[in-house]
Amino acid sequence: MTRHRGTLRGILGGVLLLTVWEAVARGFSLPAYTLPAVSDILAAAWQHRAVLAAAGWITAQEALAGYAIGTIVGIGLAGLLVVAPLLRGPVLPTAMAINSVPVVAWSPLVLLWLGVGMGSKIAMVALAVGFTVFLSALAGFDRVDRRSVDLMRSFGAGPAGVFWRLRLPAALPLIAAGMRVATVRSLIVAIVTEMLGAYGGLGWVIYQSVTLIDFVQVWSAILVASAISLAFFGLVGAIERRVIFWR
């Protein structure tokens, strides 16, 4: 019952926010550079739907490709460090050094290396996602109780058996949490890198609209980006609930 009421209030809050926004923008007839009305943003988004859909498709592709690469590399690297602990010495400090740089600061360098095309965005997303997943996967693998490992060993399980049967399932909740956070990050990084230089995509649209002082277009690009991000987040969350059914 209380949960039901909470949802209702949440919807009420959202509706209220949009109403106040619309009323303030219309009532005070605020200029578009201060705050365009919600209805104007929606109308503009619909009017430019072809441009926005194309841009959104490019950004989504970059984010998805980078996300896939980053997840695989992140989990793989963490798994490798668990199976071969000797590698920790050189790999961990290198990873920390790369990670100590704010991720967007790599964007100009990656753009110089890989060019203005989609490759540079995919690489940036893979970098950002990879680190998030790597750190959470490593924490997950290390969380396993020493005694459980010993128990499986005593039953004659090899290192591979311990990894597949014990470490991976035990680490899954943490890996999934990292992957959920990484969804949002993948879109942000793709958009930010596009702002610096691109042939298309939402970040490019935002940057162009800022230089053209087209405020409504900036808002509608943000709207599309948010919709993609929410959908991606929801999708990964749904898969997580399926895979980690015991939580």
Partner: protein, 247 residues
């Protein structure tokens, strides 16, 4: 003392490996310049790098400090007024999953190319996680402890400052550490929309000039600022949450 010596040793070793790898493998300067070349570039115009470093640091710090204060206050308000929490928290959670950094473009348009614009971007990137985690921390307090204090005649204010806020601190610091990196990213990206000083500007100018050495010099500045800031927050955490379990 011993730890700082080891840190210095590690940094020196990393520098030697960087320098040595470039020379040994004959890596082209356009891919990875030698560390000494990068340091020489900084030493050639120390003023530009220092003022950029300072400017970005101030933007980040102002935004971070304001975000912390408002975030904690907001968490307290949500804790005290469940109606507000139910109405606004879902919006907060949704806003966590959208690429907030895209709003950076709007903030720069609102405030112009001022220091304030970047501070505002850093502010809202810090403010959201701090609000959510403050609320989480306050809710994690055992109600029996509150009942105990109340039975001793403690006032609401005493319960808040003696029990609830201290108990919430570990959670708040998780958000602060996240905010430390996010606020720096926000400040750097904010500078891309046109400014004259700052690490973001240094990155952008170096990219447009295709000057890889200058890009690396700016990345180094960003790494020093990011690591230093993160270390400060972690140090504050260890001092303030002295009872917290070391990770």
């Amino acid at each position: 003392m011993k730890a700082s010596l080891r840190l210095a040793g590690g940094l020196l070793l990393a520098g030697l490996i960087w320098e040595g790898a470039v020379v040994v493998f004959g890596i082209r300067q356009s891919t990875l310049p030698r560390l000494t070349e990068v340091l020489a570039a900084i030493a050639a115009t120390p003023g530009a790098y220092w003022s950029g470093f300072l400017r970005t640091a101030i933007e980040t710090l102002i935004g971070f400090a304001a975000g912390t204060v408002v975030g904690v206050a907001n968490g307290l308000i949500f804790f005290r007024a469940p109606i507000l929490r139910d109405m606004l928290l879902p919006i907060f959670v949704v806003s966590q999953t959208i690429p907030v950094i895209a709003f950076g473009a709007l903030v720069v348009m609102w405030f112009g190319n001022t220091l304030m614009a970047k501070a505002v971007i850093a502010f809202y990137l810090t403010f959201f996680p701090v609000t959510v985690n403050t609320l989480l921390g306050l809710h994690s307090v055992d109600p029996r402890q509150v009942a105990l204090l109340r039975s001793f005649g403690a006032t609401g204010r005493q319960i808040l400052f003696r029990l609830q806020l201290p108990m919430a601190l570990p959670q708040i610091f998780v958000a602060l550490r996240l905010g430390a990196s996010l606020s720096l990213v926000g400040a750097i990206v904010g500078e891309w929309f046109g400014d004259t000083t700052g690490i973001g500007v240094l990155l952008l100018q170096a990219m447009y000039n295709e000057n890889v050495i200058a890009v690396w010099a700016a990345i180094l500045c960003a790494a020093v600022l990011g690591t230093g800031f993160y270390a400060l927050v972690a140090l504050a955490e260890r001092r303030i949450v002295f009872w917290g379990a070391e990770q």
